[in-house]
């Protein structure tokens, strides 16, 4: 059976797993974004706490994903929860780092002018700093998403949802009928998901970047 025959014969299951994969990734990135924005804004007057959290989230990235998923089993069992949790933890660093940098590097003169007009710190954040920082924050979210798409496949090791299932099952019975096709279909589908999301972010970026910034 050729690869293409395999894919068309199994399109339903592949499509189902692809959607699942997408959902898990978006869920994790959504959580990570909320957490990162919260941490970045909440620690504006606590530079040490901020530096510590940033360093911690960076360190977490160095833990091999296979190990992290495994370590979460005793606490969260198998399935969706440990997968989403692990992916969230991985996604935080790129988003948090970009958010912190972007908020810190907004032109001082612009903030000065806003303060001088009588905007309090809340208004400054909402009306001035977040809109100006947004393109860089969004880029952090995009990087985190692409990264997490790949890592999500490992989630299958803890019976997590998504395309990892195809890869793991295929590899575990390599030599068997269509084993290679099965694993390969998982890999290709992951690449497709990554490309889809990249296009999605390009679109979001176009639509949400304040016009005045790219005239």
């Amino acid at each position: 059976m050729s690869f293409f025959d395999y894919v068309s014969a199994n399109s339903e299951i592949i499509g189902f797993l692809l959607l699942q994969h997408l959902q898990v990734v978006l869920l994790a990135v959504g959580f990570a974004t909320a957490i990162s924005l919260g941490v970045a804004i909440g620690t504006e007057r606590l530079p040490r706490v901020r530096a510590a959290l940033l360093a911690t989230s960076g360190t977490i990235l160095t833990i091999p994903s296979f190990a992290l998923f495994g370590l979460l089993i005793p606490v969260f069992g198998l399935g969706v929860a440990p997968t989403v949790l692990a992916l969230t933890v991985y996604a935080i660093f790129p988003i948090l780092r970009n958010t912190v940098t972007a908020l810190e590097t907004v032109d001082g003169a612009v903030i000065d002018a806003a303060t001088g007009m009588g905007m309090g710190s809340g208004r400054r954040l909402r009306i001035v700093r977040l809109p100006l920082a947004w393109p860089v924050i969004l880029n952090g979210i995009r990087v985190a998403t692409i990264m997490v798409v790949a890592i999500a496949a490992i989630g299958a090791a803890v019976r997590g949802p998504g395309l990892g299932e195809l890869i793991f099952r295929g590899l575990s019975r390599i030599g068997g009928a269509n084993a290679l096709n099965e694993a390969l279909s998982g890999v290709v589908a992951i690449v497709v998901v990554a490309l889809l999301l990249d296009v999605l972010f390009l679109l979001i970026g176009k639509l949400t970047t304040p016009r005045g910034l790219h005239v």
């Binding site: 032109d107 007009m117 905007m119 009306i127 809109p131 005045g212």
Partner: protein, 333 residues
């Protein structure tokens, strides 16, 4: 008659901004950026702070709207201790033109100018109308510029938007930090004229920073000259500074040509004219024209005298000598 002659009470209410021994030392710096400074600025007065780079002009300005907290002394604005009132509320009633312009790049020119009125809760139509009025005032066609973004404007145009933005909510006090710095000399002269006309009409209390002594002489009711050590070298009217420079620093800061500059400040109506109109013929001028403008007209017309309406006639020599005489008498006193 209950004539109460409590000295000070009358003038006190006319003081809009009062700096009382205000000083600033930035943390980590070993010299004071602003040395203890006391100035009373009257309601409607145009005060110019002038001096070399780093003498503390911006710092002084920013202490008035509390963007910089003073290390010592007190600042009173409109009868209230500025350090005791809500900073944001204070700032909404003080127009501030910052040295680096600082337009919000993600908002249109119209949105930038309308920002403070919006913060103050004005209605949409009123804001729109005000934006139109202000863009006109600073010489930017509202239809062309309202919906542009700051990046689409030249540096000088951005500065003018900065001025319009500071004027937006019609604040009684304006702090202006080198607002015409990035504008070419011709447009700058034009804007200075416009601004003087505007000021004659709206009488705001203005504290204006520049390092250009000519701009200071042209605009200020009074000028505060600082030296590079942040010392207040002289606080006086332009004419007084040109006539009686307090020390060598002021003298060198004014540079050469003090006598000629004075001609640009004196008005022909202030000179003793020879009565008897019609005895000589000459160029007809108004009493409130400056001596230098009149000299220019007279010489350009190939004449040697001017007829000042309602006063009499003045020869070129009268005009030059009159200023010289003032000089001597001023030095003598």
């Amino acid at each position: 008659m209950s004539e109460q002659s409590t000295p000070g009470t009358g003038t006190r209410s006319d003081v809009m901004i009062s700096l009382r021994d205000v000083s600033k030392r930035y943390s980590g710096a070993d010299a004071e950026a602003v040395r203890p400074l006391s100035i009373d600025i009257e309601r409607g007065e145009f005060l110019v702070l002038v001096g070399p780079s780093g003498c503390g002009k911006t710092t002084t300005l920013r202490m008035i709207n509390r963007l910089v907290e003073p290390s010592g002394g007190e600042i009173w604005v409109d009868g209230k201790n500025a350090t005791r009132v809500d900073a944001d509320e204070l700032r909404r009633h003080i127009g501030y033109v910052i040295q680096q312009v600082g337009l919000l790049p993600h908002m249109t020119i119209g949105e930038n100018v309308g920002l403070v009125p919006k913060l103050l809760g004005w209605g949409k139509d009123r804001i729109r109308q005000r934006v139109t009025e202000l863009l006109d005032l600073v010489g930017l066609d509202p239809d062309t510029y309202r919906s542009r973004y700051p990046k689409q404007l030249s540096g000088g145009q951005q500065q003018r938007v900065g001025v319009a933005r500071a004027l937006a909510a019609d604040p009684p006090v304006m702090l202006m930090d080198e607002p015409f710095g990035a504008i070419d000399p011709i447009t700058r002269g034009h804007l200075q004229d416009e601004f003087l006309k505007l000021q004659a009409r709206i009488r705001k209390t203005i504290v204006f920073v520049t390092h250009d002594i000519d701009e200071a002489l042209r605009l200020g009711d009074r000028i505060a000259i600082f030296d590079e050590n942040a010392r207040l070298a002289q606080l006086a009217t332009p004419l007084e500074i040109l006539t009686n420079p307090a020390d060598d620093f002021v003298r060198s800061f004014i540079g050469d040509g003090a006598a000629l500059r004075r001609l640009a400040l004196l008005r022909v109506g202030d000179l003793p004219a020879v009565p008897g109109v019609g005895i000589r013929d000459g160029v007809e001028v108004e009493p409130d024209e400056t001596v230098s403008a009149v000299l220019e007209k007279v010489l350009a017309a190939g004449s040697d005298s001017a007829v000042v309406r309602g006063r009499g006639s003045l020869t070129v020599q009268d005009m030059l000598l009159a200023t010289a005489v003032r000089d001597e008498s001023a030095v003598a006193t």
